[in-house]
Amino acid sequence: MRVAVQTDPFDLGAEAAGFAAAAAGAGAVVTFTGIVRPTDTGALQAMEIEHYPGMTERAIAAMMDQARARWGLIDALVIHRHGRLALGEPIMMVATAAAHRAAAFEAAEFLMDYLKSRAPFWKKEITDAGADWVAAREADEDALTRWQAS
């Protein structure tokens, strides 16, 4: 289990390959990578991500412990960047390893849903027109209820 909160870019390929190679006994490895994409409305130039040092690592480690226990994960990885990111740059990555595919997929989605709404990151979009904090979406908050039901 590894959490990395960093300004540096990361290499999705190297991280995925290293993670899968280390996950002895895994039958299923899922990765999710989030990338800075053009906004639907304006000309995005860059994304700025602020976070809460200390709490970020703590919150993510707690989510990973929960995911590991709930889905019997063999391993999990979260990398999340902060600072200024250009269009097309990777923002973050989640990887999960499990015996079977359903566990690996569900745990990755669980981690993504919690990272979205429970890890202390805040995104600001820098466009031609100025800079705006990204508003939290109700749909992202609602996504968490899926994991609380069972």
Partner: protein
């Protein structure tokens, strides 16, 4: 003395990322009232608590949580990670 941290637009509105506050507030809500009484920029930042989140010693809490023993309070908007 308590460390009070501000993030994202809360930080921008108040104009600083953190400060040490000498407060006897019993709950988060009391602390918010004390800060809001100080200056307009605080009052503006705390105008709508429904749009804010609070963490006590780096764990999410709610505004009625007691402050006894707490060393670090952080105010911020709903998170937008991932």
């Amino acid at each position: 003395m308590i460390d009070v941290l501000y993030f994202a637009w809360v930080r921008e509105r108040i104009g600083l990322p953190r400060e040490r506050v000498d407060s006897q507030a019993a709950t988060v809500r009391d602390l918010v009232a004390e800060l809001s009484a100080r200056e307009d920029r605080y009052a503006a930042a705390f105008a709508d608590l429904a749009s804010l989140r609070v963490a006590l010693d780096q764990d999410l809490a709610d505004f009625d949580a007691p402050l006894a023993g707490v060393r670090e309070v952080a105010f911020f908007p709903p998170m937008t990670g991932g």
